[in-house]
């Protein structure tokens, strides 16, 4: 068997590839398809923006709730009831209701 000259074969095949003229035919209504895709994407991107905003808000709320939960869980309960935050809060909230009773 004769030895194959790979360099020459490479040249021949490259020349064969050069002779192939690229086909530039365009599918029917291709530009319409692209424009429809762009329109579809624009509509979808509005929805995506809203969805993204809601997700961010939800994550922030969950994070805030977790921090509040952690703070209330790890803060030791005050021994003195007079310094109880919830009691203070209730007193402040009901201050206006309690006021008429206090005045003679």
């Amino acid at each position: 068997m004769k030895r194959m000259n790979f360099a020459q074969l490479q040249q021949k095949l490259t020349a064969a590839a050069r002779l192939q003229s690229p086909d530039d035919r365009v599918p029917y209504a291709f530009e319409k398809r692209i424009m429809a895709l762009l329109a579809q994407r624009a509509a979808a991107s509005g929805q995506i923006l809203w969805a993204r905003g809601f997700w961010r808000a939800a994550v922030s709320c969950v994070a805030l709730a977790a921090v509040c939960g952690a703070v209330s869980f790890f803060t030791p309960a005050a021994a003195d009831n007079s310094k109880d935050l919830s009691q203070d809060f209730e007193n402040t909230l009901l201050a206006s209701v309690d006021q008429p009773d206090a005045t003679p």
């Binding site: 490259t14 064969a16 530039d24 599918p27």
Partner: protein, 191 residues
């Protein structure tokens, strides 16, 4: 009156999406011809072209108008084709045992007398496509641009975004890879 390319691009950037359509109509033949150099199935070719146009629309702000729009678009097209090749690397792992009879005949003629094997034969084209499909994405892109489209190293660097030395290194490796594939093909056929 027909609007110029610059006017169309400016209109698209102002938010007039419809002005993009004449650009798509004008340059789609070139984009599809480029895609056909790297993909074989018509569905893949259309996917590549579609991807090129979607990217072109998204990145139109980055087009500064210093070079013609066509050059900018071709850069996008070549890079999209490269991404496609990288995404379809698995397809190139197969043996040469399935080469057709005319391709085998062409190879036999080449071995017997290299001058008698014509480059314009269909078998030669089929064979070169088979070899190109087995190259790595980098090698395929370089061989296509440098050897087949006859572009300069500088042009390839601009099209691909690679540096000039990198193109040279990849061209050297690509030629070696192609020879290796041809050697494997000969081994599969004759041993």
């Amino acid at each position: 009156m027909e609007r110029s390319e610059a006017e169309l691009i400016a209109a698209v950037l102002r938010g007039d999406r419809a002005s993009f359509e004449p650009l798509v109509a004008k340059y789609s033949p070139r984009v599809l011809a480029t895609a056909r150099r790297y993909a074989r199935r018509e569905s893949e070719i259309e996917d590549i072209a579609q991807e090129v146009w979607l990217k072109a629309f998204d990145k139109l702000k980055s087009f500064r108008g210093e070079a013609p729009f066509e050059h900018w678009l071709m850069r996008l097209a070549v890079r999209t084709c490269y991404d496609f090749l990288r995404g379809h690397q698995r397809n190139r792992e197969s043996s040469f045992s399935e080469i057709s009879e005319p391709e085998e005949d062409w190879l036999d003629r080449f071995v017997a007398d290299p001058g008698s094997a014509a480059e314009d034969a269909d078998a030669a084209r089929a064979l070169v496509n088979r070899v190109l499909e087995r190259l790595s994405p980098e090698a395929r892109l370089v061989i296509q641009l440098l050897e087949i489209e006859d572009r300069s190293v500088k042009e390839i660097a601009e099209l691909t975004g690679w540096s000039v030395p990198l193109v040279k290194v990849r061209a050297f490796r690509a030629r070696a890879e192609m020879r290796k594939i041809l050697a494997r093909m000969a081994k599969d056929k004759y041993l």
